[in-house]
């Protein structure tokens, strides 16, 4: 089911099959109205809230204004969290790509009759609560756990521990969004014609050249979809940073949540949210354009 998200793009349909009538609009209306009222209007409200100014003498109350300085204040106070979000999400996305590619390749090309079972196993972890899965990493990465002890014996950990460091946050992000990377990669690799690889081998290309010149370029739509589906939720996530990191590893999501819900500083929180969304959308569209797969949208 999720495979379809990334696999099918564009609208390919026999031209004669589409009808022009009012029914189309009636079918669209309820759902699009819902998205308009509860997605588009809230984003506009968010923008307006981000420009509000505090009411004198009444703490926690804000009035419509055009206080652009909210954005400057938000950036000055929270630029490290912004930077961290994009850095952590970027590293996690790369790690997920490295782990997911061989897995997706194996399922798509070599798994044979085990294919369905392996796909189910890829999505199965998502059936256990996201929060509990993340929390479970506290056990796995705890200070005296086998993983930490082993890595400490190799002297590769900068702080001699994993839990409550940025490594744990990145590890959690990588783990949690891995299925979003595997599925689109699988969808792309599954459509790969095995004869192309055979042809490449016949023409005396070694496996590395075949991968570089044939497999990888043909799987690029899957790579683009997978990296986006991993990067976007990872950049906005604050659960991993909260449960696995220290206060030094907080991401922009943490800042938005605390400002909105704990401090009730709605303008700053809205400014942060709006900038996060804008930054991600700019990145997404630039990336899609560069990768040349605009039919993804």
């Amino acid at each position: 089911m999720v495979v379809g998200v990334a696999a099918k793009g564009g609208t390919s349909i026999a031209p004669g099959a589409q009808r022009r009538s009012r029914t189309g609009y009636f079918l669209l209306l309820p759902g699009m109205a819902w998205l308009g009222i509860f997605f588009a209007i809230p984003i506009a409200t968010l923008f307006m809230t981000s420009l509000q100014a505090p009411v004198e003498g009444a703490s926690g109350q804000y009035a419509p204004a055009f206080q652009v300085s909210n954005y400057a204040d938000a950036i000055i106070e929270y630029w490290p969290q912004f930077l961290r979000s994009f850095l952590y999400a970027g590293i996690a996305t790369l790690l997920a790509l490295v782990i997911a590619y061989p897995l997706a390749y194996f399922i798509a090309v070599k798994a044979g009759r085990w294919r369905t079972l392996m796909l189910v196993l890829v999505i199965a972890p998502s059936f256990a609560s996201f929060l509990l899965r993340t929390y479970a990493w506290r056990t796995i990465l705890a200070d005296e756990s086998p993983v930490t002890t082993f890595l400490n014996a190799l002297h590769v950990l900068p702080d001699d521990r994993i839990l409550n460091t940025s490594i744990a946050v990145i590890a959690g992000l990588t783990y949690n969004f891995l299925p979003f990377m595997v599925l689109p990669l699988y969808a792309a690799l599954e459509r790969l014609d095995p004869r192309l690889i055979e042809a490449s081998n016949d023409l005396y290309a070694n496996p590395i050249t075949t991968f570089r010149k044939v497999t990888w370029p043909l799987s690029l739509p899957g790579v683009v979809a997978g990296t986006l589906l991993t990067f976007i939720p990872a950049a906005g996530d604050y659960i991993n940073a909260e449960l696995l990191g220290s206060t030094q590893d907080r991401m922009i999501g943490n800042a938005i949540q605390t400002n909105f819900i704990d401090f009730r500083d709605y303008p700053i929180a809205s400014a942060l949210s709006f900038m996060l969304m804008a930054a991600i959308l700019v990145l997404v569209f630039a990336y899609i354009r560069r990768a040349g797969t605009e039919d993804l949208v």
Partner: protein, 278 residues
Amino acid sequence: MKWLRSHLVGMFAVLALVYLFIPISVIIVLSFNKPAGKFNIRWNEFSLDGWTNICGVPGVCESFLTSIQIGLISALAATVLGTLIAFALVRYRFRGRSTTNLLIFLPMATPEVVMGASLLALFLNLQFPLGQTTVIIAHIMFIISFVVVTVKARLQGMDPRLEEAARDLYASPGQTFRYVTFPLVLPGILGAALLGFALSFDDFIISFFNAGTLVTFPIYIWGAAQRGIPVQVNALATIVFISALAIVLFVQIRGQMKRKSLTAAPANPATIDVLPRS
């Protein structure tokens, strides 16, 4: 050495799957634990407390049922709304197609924290009371896009000749829809509904922003994380995990068996409704 090289990808794939299941096994194992302190993060002693007394901790089962209720309502509503949109997108020509596509794509490209915050901004500005209604509104909103994409893929993958055949055999548009189109799309719609329920049931970020004092299962876990998650939560999560896995495996195996019977007897009209897409 040669064996190693030809099986390298396979071994890596198995390792990756094992990696995916490490936290799951931790959750399941710790559901049989009797924690030494208040934090259930280290193995101490075997106990069935979490299972025999599954509603023993106040709030756990209530939050669990709240999440199921919200999941059912949201998935149902979003599936109806999303399926209608998918039909319009694939079957009808209309003006504003690119705007429509954009409005469906954007919620999937927006981080949850932004959607949660923006809806909260709206509800606060309207002074709309937060609670179950606002959470359901939010869930329907973010599930619709996933339903549209899933059902659309199914509709596009459908063989148009099947509907043509129905029309050639003098079926009215209503009959064609009822006996051909709908049964063919139904697996996609059910898949979308299941996905929607799963998304709603496990959602934390958007819910947390718009819940007010309402406690869903993920919100309960979030609150408990600071003071120690009771073993009962692990037991409930294990039940959810196993049942979801069972449902998916059942659907997949049934699909494969029907596919086999289809190739064995291609003329049997009773099996047409499970024609494999792709």
